[in-house]
Each structure stands twice: as structure tokens, then as C-alpha cells.
Symmetry: C2
Subunit: 640 residues, 2 copies
């Protein structure tokens, strides 16, 4: 707020505001304006008092206020904020949060100044464009993104207009504009219109040396029109526009065009400016492909090599990101011989196998390497039982059933059973330990409360009972899942998650967040086991089909037991909220001063554990994993 000096003693602001509000309610804009100007009330109130009324009566506002300088005063005073909320709070008592809510709801109110400028300009032009010229210029300048080009065009129009006597000369208008805007900024804007009359008009008013800008402009004049625009845009660092102009200069300028594209990474917009399959289009695409390739984004580089129709480079990139389907589109385009294609296929299949993509590797081997045996063995290796069976029958090679299929089937089930067994052990061990740790913490909390919350009890001491000399980190305790035959996790995500856990949580007995570490480890087991449903389903069915009924039944039973076990423990590991929360006191005959005091003490006790509280907000700790209970995996036939 502006200082009012002695005015305050004569005209207290509260009374002044009441008067202003009355005027505004009656739409007496000029009366309101005069009072506000006299008493230095922020001009935004004219609008903020009732935005809807102002906008719908904007013509009346202009007609009433009438004086150009008054309108300019109002326009230059505009702010984005709502002064009824920020400044004249007492007089309006508008709810800040409600208003904030409505601000969010209607994005139009986020650009209050723009709305007013546009509305006022429309009204002014409707009444007398010449008379209110300076105000119109002000509405252009005051926009959140000043529309200086339009303002300049208006001045230029004024210059050209000599038939009628203007209210104001172009000279004066320009001087007013320069009062509002920095001259160098205006010079650049003028240059950006490619209109040298405008440029000179502004330059004359500036501090610039005519010996500098006159030759510069003359040099530009000499250029071909598109190239001139390109040069100006480049000078003004408007590279996208520069691009659109250099493109129009034709082939002889294409080298320069490519330079611009590469320097300012304009490949994507540049491609829009040439027809696909044209030489220029291809060159740009290849240029971008090389950029992407340099950033090791092979999958994207490949796409742009395709657009550039450089099939061999595309092939290399598709190979690098193991996009096997596109790889063979490229070999087809390149017209590879069968031998050459087979060589690519064999190499690619190895890569895919290494990434646990056995089904795809098998297709590559069968259809492109022409290596049936290897395809079948790959499917068996990847435990794709149905697809392996299909290929064996399709090519009459059921001899693999005895030599490869059955041995691998039995090996798989034993590995999985062993895996489940060791995970179950860890699961139960961590569970038991979690119970102990929680009991210890609860006991420590009660001790803390009993001692009145004071004393020299250190946080670290709370765990001295349970700490031991040896301990294990989260890395060594859980069965290493990444090494499992059944792992669907990528090594990287496991490493990252473990790293994050290691940061604060350690499974070492007695460490501060041992409970969190235990829960995180349990969550990992739960998610992994829950994710095995499909695998177990297919394995059980295949075992039974090949007459290993008892093995299948054993796997189904073991897995089912583990799932049931997990389900029964979930509520214990991730406690329900009402188990954790303290009972809230309720007004009733049993309430005593003691019970109230106790509840307050408990609240106090909880506060001291605020650090643990933040730990508890980690989603792994807070929410139990959701099991896919609706996924059918059981072989009903084996249930007795």
C-alpha cells in the first residue's frame, strides 16, 4: 500500500472504502475513480470489487472515466492479485482459500490483467480509436506477454494516415510507447517485423549510432527476401522462424539450413517442412538419427534411420536395442542372402536368450536361422512348455521329449520347490523377529511414558536388549532372487531398490529401523511369490500331462500352503490402522481426569517418536501388497 501521510487522520481509510464500495455498487465508476485517486486506493479495486460487473460494464467505465490519462493510470496500476483478498481484507472478509479454490477452477481468472486489457481495448476502439490511442497502446504493453508488435503497427498506421487530423501525432505516440518500453527491446521487436520503416522509426529515437545501424540495414536490404528474414531471425535468436525462412530459399541454401538444424536441434520441426522421402527430409532424419545414436538411444535412432532410408544403419540400431521384428524388416529391405540373415539371426537369438526372452529367440531361430533343434532347445530352456510341444510336433521331432523336455521339466520343478522352501524359511524367520522387535519397541515406549517422558533415555538405548555382536544385512538374508531360474526381475531394479533400503534400513539385529528393514524384506518375498502364479500354473499342468502327477501335486500343495501362509500373516505384518492408533477418548460417564491426562500423555509419547513416524509413511511399510487372488492357477483336478 502507498503511504497516505496526514490523509489518514482526516479521512480514515475504512470510511473511504465504504464510499468507494457504494459508488461501485451503483456502477458510478468515475466517482469511485476520483475518490480512489485522491485517497490513493489501489486501482485494482475497480475490477476486484466485482469482476463480472466490471467486464459487462466496461464500455460504461470507459465512457464515465473518459480522460485518457485516467484510463492509463488504471491500466498501469493493474496487478494479477485480488486486492480484496490481499490488501483490503478487513473491508471485504473474502475467504482466501475459497477464492484460491475458484482461481484453480477457472484458469481464465489466472490472467486477470489480460482479460481487462482486451476488454478495455475493445471498448476504446468502439468509442474513439484516435482519441484513446495512448490508452490503446497501454493495453497492448500491459499484457502479460506484451504485444509490442501490434503497438508498433498502430504507430506506423498513424504515420501513414495524413488525410484526417489526428488527435495525436505518430511522433508523440512513439515517444509515449518508449516511455513504457525499453528502446532496445522495441528496436528488436521492430526488426522482427522485417519492416525497415518501423526499424528506422524506432532507431531514430534510440541511443544507437546511425553509422552502425544504417549499414546493417542496407546490407539486409540487399538480400533476397526469404534469406533476409532468415538472417534477421537468426540475429534475434528466433531459430525456429529462421528455419522456416531458410527452407524457402531452396536447395542452394540447404547446407546452411542443415547447419542451423544441427546447431539448434531443430530436426523435429524441420522434418515438418519437407515432404517425406525427399532428399532433404532423409538428410535431416539421418542427422537426427546420428544425434540420438550418440546419446545411445538406439531404439529412437533406428526409427530416424528408417525415415532416412539408411537401412543398414537402422539394422545396426535395431540390433542394439534387440527389436528383433524390425531387424528382419531391415534384412529384407537390404536383400540379405539366407546365409547372411541366418548369421544375424543366430547372434540375435543369443542376445534374446540372455535377456530371458526365450520365446522370441525361438521364433528367430526357427524362422530366420533355420535351426529347428536350437529353437526347440531354447523353448525348453526357457520353460515354455506348450510352445516347445507345438514345435516338436510341428516338425516331427518328439524325440526331444525324452532327451531334453522331461529332464528340464523335473529340474524346473525341483528348483522352484527349493526356492519356495528357502523363501518360506526366511519369511517365517523375519516374521518372528518382527514380532520380537515390535514388542521391544512397545516396552521401550511404555517405559518412556512411565518415566514421565524425561530422563536421560537415549533413542539408541531402547534397542540394547536385542542388539547382538553379529548381524546380517538385507543383502545376505533374503534368498538371492536374481540368481533364481525363475527370476522375472531385472538385475538393475533389484540393485536400486536394495540400495535405497540400505540407505536407512538394515536387517542387522538391533539396528534402529530393523522393523522397517524386515517389513521391506517381507514385502519383497510376498510380491515375488504372488507373481509366480502363472509359472506354477503352467508347470503343474505340464507335469500332470506328462504323468508326473505326484510332482505336480507337491508343487501345487507347497505353493498353495505358502500363499495361505502369506495371506494369514499380512494383517500381522502390515497392522490395521485401528491397531496402531490410540483409542480416542469419548465423552461419557467413565471419563475421568486421569483418562484424559493419560490420552494426552500418549499423544505426547507419540510425538517423541516423530522420526519413526516419517519412516512409517513409506508405502512399502504402510500398505500391504495386494495379492492377485482372482488369478486362477490351481489345477482343480488335483484337489481332493
Amino acid at each position: 500500500q502507498m503511504p497516505r501521510g496526514n490523509l489518514e487522520t482526516v479521512h480514515p481509510r475504512a470510511l473511504v472504502l465504504t464510499a468507494v464500495r457504494k459508488h461501485l455498487d451503483k456502477l458510478q465508476f468515475n466517482e469511485a475513480f476520483m475518490v480512489m485517486r485522491k485517497h490513493r486506493i489501489n486501482m485494482n479495486l475497480l475490477y476486484d470489487h466485482n469482476p463480472a460487473a466490471f467486464i459487462s460494464n466496461v464500455a460504461m467505465f470507459v465512457t464515465q472515466v473518459a480522460v485518457v490519462t485516467h484510463i492509463n493510470l488504471f491500466l498501469t496500476d493493474l496487478l494479477e492479485e485480488d486486492v480484496t483478498v490481499t490488501m483490503y481484507t478487513a473491508a471485504y472478509e473474502r475467504n482466501k482459500s475459497l477464492s484460491a479454490g475458484s482461481l484453480q477452477a477457472t484458469p481464465s481468472s489466472l490472467c486477470k490483467v489480460n482479460t481487462i486489457c482486451d476488454a478495455v481495448r475493445k471498448a476504446l476502439i468502439g468509442i474513439d480509436e484516435n482519441k484513446y490511442l495512448l490508452s490503446i497502446l497501454t493495453t497492448y504493453v500491459r499484457k502479460s506477454k506484451p504485444e509490442l508488435e501490434q503497438a508498433l503497427q498502430l504507430v506506423k498506421k498513424l504515420r501513414a494516415c495524413t488525410n484526417e487530423l489526428p488527435h495525436i501525432s505518430a511522433e508523440e505516440a512513439l515517444r509515449y510507447l518508449l516511455f513504457l518500453v525499453d528502446v532496445n527491446e522495441l528496436y528488436d521487436i521492430a526488426l522482427g517485423t522485417y519492416d525497415f520503416d518501423l526499424v528506422l522509426m524506432v532507431a531514430e529515437k534510440s541511443q544507437k549510432d546511425p553509422k552502425e545501424y544504417i549499414p546493417f540495414l542496407n546490407e539486409l536490404r540487399r538480400l533476397e527476401s526469404s534469406y533476409r528474414m532468415y538472417t534477421i531471425d537468426k540475429h534475434l535468436k528466433r531459430y525456429e522462424r529462421a528455419l522456416s525462412h531458410i527452407v524457402k530459399c531452396g536447395d542452394e541454401r540447404f547446407a546452411e539450413c542443415m547447419l542451423l538444424i544441427n546447431q539448434h536441434h531443430l530436426h523435429v520441426p524441420a522434418l515438418q517442412l519437407y515432404p517425406p522421402h525427399s532428399q532433404q527430409y532423409k538428410n535431416i532424419a539421418i542427422g537426427y538419427a546420428e544425434v540420438l545414436s550418440g546419446k545411445r538411444r538406439h531404439d529412437e535412432a533406428a526409427i530416424f534411420y528408417v525415415k532416412g532410408e539408411i537401412w543398414d544403419m537402422a539394422l545396426t540400431s535395431f540390433l542394439a536395442c534387440h527389436q528383433w521384428q524390425q531387424v528382419f524388416c531391415m534384412t529384407a529391405r537390404l536383400g540379405y542372402t539366407q546365409d547372411r540373415e541366418a548369421a544375424v539371426a543366430r547372434k540375435l537369438a543369443e542376445e534374446l536368450k540372455g535377456r530371458n526372452r526365450h520365446s522370441e529367440a525361438a521364433v528367430v531361430l526357427e524362422q530366420y536361422a533355420g535351426d529347428l533343434e536350437e529353437a526347440i532347445v531354447t523353448l525348453i530352456q526357457g520353460t515354455q512348455w506348450d510352445e516347445a510341444s507345438r514345435l516338436m510336433h510341428k516338425h516331427k521331432r518328439t524325440d526331444f521329449v525324452e532327451t531334453d523336455f522331461k529332464p528340464r521339466l523335473l529340474e524346473s520343478v525341483d528348483a522352484l520347490l527349493g526356492n519356495l522352501e528357502s523363501m518360506k524359511e526366511t519369511f517365517l524367520k523375519h516374521n518372528a523377529r518382527l514380532g520380537v522387535v515390535r514388542q521391544e519397541k512397545e516396552r521401550a515406549r511404555l517405559t518412556f511414558i512411565e518415566s514421565g517422558g524425561g530422563g536421560g533415555v537415549q533413542e539408541g538405548d531402547l534397542f540394547s536388549d536385542t542388539s547382538s555382536a553379529t548381524g546380517e544385512s538385507i543383502l545376505s538374508s533374503a534368498p538371492s532372487m536374481s540368481s533364481s531360474v525363475y527370476s522375472k526381475m531385472s538385475g538393475r531394479s533389484v540393485r536400486n531398490r536394495r540400495k535405497a533400503e540400505l540407505k536407512k534400513w538394515r536387517l542387522k539385529e538391533g539396528s534402529e529401523f530393523e522393523d522397517c528393514a524386515l517389513i521391506a524384506s517381507l514385502a519383497k518375498i510376498v510380491k515375488y511369490v504372488d507373481g509366480l502364479r502363472d509359472e506354477v500354473r503352467s508347470l503343474v499342468r505340464t507335469l500332470v500331462m506328462f504323468n508326473y502327477d505326484s510332482k505336480g501335486a507337491e508343487l501345487q500343495r507347497q505353493y498353495d500352503t505358502f500363499l495361505t501362509l502369506i495371506d494369514s500373516y499380512l494383517g500381522e505384518i502390515w497392522l490395521e490402522e485401528d491397531q496402531e492408533a490410540d483409542v480416542k477418548p469419548v465423552l461419557g460417564p467413565t471419563t475421568t481426569a486421569n483418562s484424559i491426562a493419560l490420552s494426552l500423555q500418549q499423544g505426547h509419547g507419540q510425538q517423541s517418536e516423530s522420526e519413526e513416524g516419517t519412516e512409517k509413511t513409506d508405502p512399502i511399510i504402510k500398505f500391504a501388497p495386494v495379492l492377485q487372488k482372482d488369478k486362477k492357477w490351481k489345477l482343480y483336478a488335483l484337489e481332493t
Copy 2:
């Protein structure tokens, strides 16, 4: 507890217990026993006082107590419960919950009676098997699953033993056993040993008519041994054992065996008893396949038809559950001609297409129906862009690019954009409405508290401000996703979920759980949109590869905007807990009687909304869906 009559006045139980505990601590079992018997203290205390001490000194216990009837008294008194917790609480003050916890932790303590019986029997046999024979019988009978067979065998052994003078006759032992166990039960047990001496021994003591059981036993005697056992087992309804015996009777009894299997669904255990590929094995498998088929479990029936080597029935079943890979294993086994296989393939491909399994349908068409064109068109229809490209190049049919591929590509992107647009609209609409409903509810709650929680305010009245004559159900408002080209949801799950929601939650304005209905609808949109990542990724890449850069950029931008929008609203839709929970009062200088009373009132106010509370526990309402933010879907090349 047993009544003690006048004893209590002379020997108060509290004093008696103190004496007993002293004796037990000194391992004076007999002294303790005599006092306990005199004062009718529950005999379980002998063990429960200190279980570990009892078990390790069980031999001493037997030696001290010595008298057979005394030991029997102790054994017959045994209960699973811990009397120090349930009966003599005051004397022991053991923590019930801790003990319950330890019970859970050690499953062995769940069978306390069994542990004691086994330990005592071991001790008795070690000291004098003959002398303590009745006690040994008692230990068999008292087990949680009475071991009556062993008890009978012991009596039989006693009968055979004539060389030394027994302490007790077999006659007496049997009479004692019948005092403990019902005679008919013992008769069945005896029959189940297939030992007719035992049966007669028991039968003589029973009320049974010799004219009945003698002929019955004689008839059994006449049978071949395995068949006799089968008949007895069937008589005793022990069907699994009956099965194991009838199997030993060889082929001439196989019809009867099948009858037993079918009557009592013993297929799975029966298969274990015959070698795979034997005729019997096959017959049993086929029998089970028919049972499963009748239950419309085609996938499982197929497996058993395979085991029964009835390939054509297996084919039918595999077709019924669309297991296409196994279907062609069967056609191969059946030696179908190419034409016949092609006919099966064409029919199956249609089924797969109808289930949105276009990739698989294409493999079937290409490899078994020999219909390349149809395979390519299917892949294009199923928006499998890479695989479609691969097939076109593999078979040199890139003419499909212009005729089918590109039109479908553009159709897909437009459909998806339209879908996103309409969902965004619904998302914003529901969001805005949710804000209004919540504000209304909050206002109603405050009014309720201000009015002192009393008065005639009805729950239904709280929503009268917002209710309107028209409203929409959850069915009509959300864009129908199941009809979308992009739907991955099965119709059934959608129907079920909707049904569940309709039960209580309606989107109709002003309905009681409108907020819940809105959240559920929003959750559905969030999950669906979040699940589109892979689809968008593949579509954007394909568009750019085929030079529809601007379409691709538009899709990427639209989808990205929607994801960002969702992410920004999540915290608003699913409120953080601290926003919902009331501030807990904390003991401090600012606490006044008023603030305490107010907090209690709030607690009271909350209670009246308990019904809403249970509504809030639904996971859809409670937890925000987790977005797959780590899934990379964007084409970096398009980001400027």
C-alpha cells in the same frame, strides 16, 4: 472347577495351591499329587506348573506316583488348556496374551496331551511294561487321535503271552479298555486290522448277536486276502485303502475297481497305483477327463484325455479352452491332413481374434491355415505393428502397408485420442463434483457439531442442498471402456465391479455415498489410463516411423498431459491421512478445559458418522492407485 464343599472352610484353596507349588518346585510329585487329589485340584497343574521340568523328569514322576490308578487318574484328567492361565489365574498371574503368543510360536505346545501321553508311556515301558499295562493303554486312548489299534495289539500280545505270570489278564485289560472306549468303535477298529482274532475278542464283549457277526466273519474268511481287505475297508468306508487293496486283485476285478473310483472320485490316487500308459491307467484318466468335462473344466479335461491317450477328445477339449498350441500337438498326433488342419486353424483363429488374442491368431493362420493375407490383416487389426511389419517383409507383401496398415494406424490413433479426450472430461467433471460434495459434507458436520450433536437432524437431510431431481448412475457417466478398441478388460470383471459399486454407491447427485462412487469412478479412469503406456509407446513409435510425426507428437503430448493431470490430482482425490484426521490435543500451556471438551465433542461427532467410516475402509476409497512411473513410454526424440 470341581465343587469342594466344606473343604474350603478348613483348607482355603489359596493355601493349598501354595503347598502344591512348593512340592512341585522340589519335584516332589507324589506329595503334590496326594494333596491335589485330596483337595480336588485339577491334575493338569502337575504339568502346567512347569512343563519343561515335568517332561525332563517324567521318569521320576512315574516312579514317585507309582500307583497305576493314580497315574490313570492323572492321564484321564488331562486337558489341552493351560490351567495356570485359565483356572488358577490368581495364584500364577501369567500373562494370557504372552502365553497365547508363545502357543502360536511353538506348534508343539498345541498338542500338550499328546506330548504328555507319549512321554509317560515311554517312561512306563522303561520301568515295567506289565505292571503299568493299564496306564499304557490309557496313554494310547487319551491321545488327541486315539491310537486304539496299538491298544488292541497290546491286549492281543498279552493273550499270546502264557509263559510268564502276567500282572493282569488279557481279559481284564480288554474290560478296562472297553470302560474307556465305546465297544462299537473298538469293534470297527479291530475289523480294520483285518485280524479276526482281535475282532472276535472284542465282539464277545459287545452286545452284538453272534448269529450276525460269526457268519459275516466266516464269509470274509472265505475271500482271497486282498479282496477281503478291500471288502472290509469298503464296509468301514475307508475308500482310499479299499482302492489300494482292490488294485492288488488284478485285472478280473478292474471293473469293480473303476466303479469304486468313479463313485468316490478316487481318480487322482488311483492313477498313482498303475504304471503310466497301461490300459488301466488310461481308463482311469479317461474316466476323470469325462468327469471334468461334465463340469465344463475343459482345460483340465484335456490334460486327462492326453493321459488317457484319447487324442480326438483332447483336441475337442483344447479347442474349447482355446489352448491353440496344444490343439496342433493333437492334430499332429492324430495325423490330420493339411486341409483338415487348416479348417481347424481357421475356426480357432476366429475364436482367438474374438478374445483379443490377435498375435496368436496370426501364428495359427500363417503356420497352420497357410493363409498369409489373413495373418497380416489380423495383426494389423490387432494393432500389432512390429509383428505385422515383420510378416509383410518376410513374405514380400509390403503392398499391405498402403491398403491396410496405414489406414488402421491412423484410425487407431484417432480412436485413442478421442478416448483420452472423453475420459479427461469425465475425470475433471467428477473431480469438481467431488470437491463440492466434500465441502457440503464438511459443512453438514460442522452444523451438526454446532447444534451440539442433538436435534432432529436426519442423515438424509445433510445432502438436501446438493440433491437434484435428475442424476446419473455410474453406468452412464464413465465412457464405456469395454466398447473401446483399446480395452484390455474382460467384460465380466467390469460387470462384476460395476455391480458391486451399484450395490451401495451411486453417482446420482445427492445420493448418500456419492463421494465414494465418484472416487471409485475416478480410480477406474486412473487405472485404465495408466495401463495404456505400452500401447501409446508402440503407437507413437510406429507413427513416427511411417512419417506421421505430428500425429505421433500429438498423441504423446495428449497422453503426457493427462498423466500429469492425474498425478497432480491424486493427492486431492485420495486425501493424505493427516488431512482427514483431527488434530490430537497435546498437553501444554494452551490446553484449556474447553479445548479438551471440544476434542471430545469432535470425537463424538465422528462417532455418529461411523457408517461412513466403514465405507471409507474400502481399498478403492482408501488408497490411491500406484502409477507405473518407472515404465518408459515417451519418445525422447519428440520432446523439444
